[in-house]
């Protein structure tokens, strides 16, 4: 491996862990603050919705349709694996028939 590749991996590893460590410290500081601690209780739900939004932001109509199907399956089943299976079947079938 070249020196540049080693440097890339080293700095990326250091940076990635620093971000996580900063998250750990800030989580502790926020939880110690009475007014801000509620922020941490609401954060996970908002973060996961934002992750879904980011994966759909540039997606085509087929992916949005599959997401809508997965949403309905999730509402009914409230089960991760069942929703994954139906989501995969939906996008596979939609791509097969419409592309």
């Amino acid at each position: 491996m070249t020196d540049a590749q080693w440097f890339l991996i080293g700095t990326l590893a250091l940076g990635a862990y620093s971000i996580r460590f900063l998250g750990l410290v800030s989580g502790q500081l926020i939880s110690d603050n009475k007014h801000l601690s509620k922020f941490l209780a609401d954060l996970p739900g908002c973060l996961i919705v934002a992750l879904i939004a980011s994966s759909l932001a540039g997606a085509d109509p087929i992916t949005w349709t599959a997401a809508a199907i997965a949403f309905v399956v999730a509402l009914i089943s409230n089960h991760v694996v069942i929703t994954m299976i139906f989501g995969f079947i939906a996008i596979f079938a939609l791509k097969h028939f419409f592309i």
């Binding site: 922020f39 908002c46 973060l47």
Partner: protein, 227 residues
């Protein structure tokens, strides 16, 4: 911990497809298989690794590639901060290890399970994190070693399985109708910011903060209305 190991397996299968694809790309860009293994173990940030390696190959500048990769990883500020309630009772060395092996998938699954069963905590997070961590290392290294002899499952729509899983996890984390407006705000703000060309990592953080602020505002309005 065993429950965490097993519960995450369907998601680990999806991550393996991504890991394999990354390994293929990285090997084509002259990274040796053992270098990819070291990178996956030490960095452990899927999308950041992909972006950094691609930037490095196309631009040739290490600092630019690292910054691009780290920008995508900024969401872990919020993800790890939110783990405070899960990790506060465990020893420091376990906390420092847990934050390294935490991924989007096992973090979200931990909170989804915890919403149904409050006894779910650090052992589940660490067990599921270890599964994802090992899967990522093996799949990326496997991709580098086996190259293109196996079809890219991501092209068949396997990547969407993650989105579907996150939708199901959000459903499990939905507490009551008071979550609806903040979540809609989060969704719309995140999409708008990405459409306005803000990096997705920053859009995720900004969208989440907009949602949390909305929660605070709606609760204050409800309290005033009740008083």
């Amino acid at each position: 911990m065993k429950q965490g190991f097993l519960s995450i397996l369907p998601l680990a299968a999806g991550a393996a497809a991504y890991g394999f694809a990354f390994g293929v790309i990285a090997a084509q860009l002259d990274f040796p298989w053992w270098g990819i293994a070291i990178m996956s173990a030490s960095v452990h940030a899927g999308s950041s690794q992909i972006v950094a390696v691609e930037q490095f190959a196309s631009e040739g500048f290490v600092i630019g590639a690292v910054l691009a990769g780290l920008a995508l990883n900024m969401r872990y500020l919020g993800i790890i901060a939110s783990l405070n309630s899960v990790l506060k009772e465990v020893p420091l060395f376990q906390r420092l290890f847990a934050i390294h092996i935490t991924s989007d998938e096992n973090w979200a699954l931990t909170f989804a399970k915890r919403a149904k069963d409050p006894s779910i905590g650090a052992p589940f997070l660490i067990g599921s994190g270890l599964t994802m961590f090992v899967t990522w290392i093996i799949s990326t290294t496997g991709g580098a070693l086996l190259g293109q002899s196996i079809p890219n499952l991501v092209d068949y729509g396997l990547g969407f399985a993650f989105t579907a899983a996150f939708i199901a996890m959000a459903r499990a984390m939905w507490r009551n109708k008071q979550d609806t407006l903040p979540w809609v705000i989060t969704f719309v703000v995140t999409i708008l910011l990405i459409k306005l060309s803000l990096g997705s990592a920053f859009a995720i953080i900004a969208g989440s903060i907009a949602g949390v602020i909305t929660t605070g505002l709606t609760q204050q309005i409800s309290k005033k209305a009740a008083a």
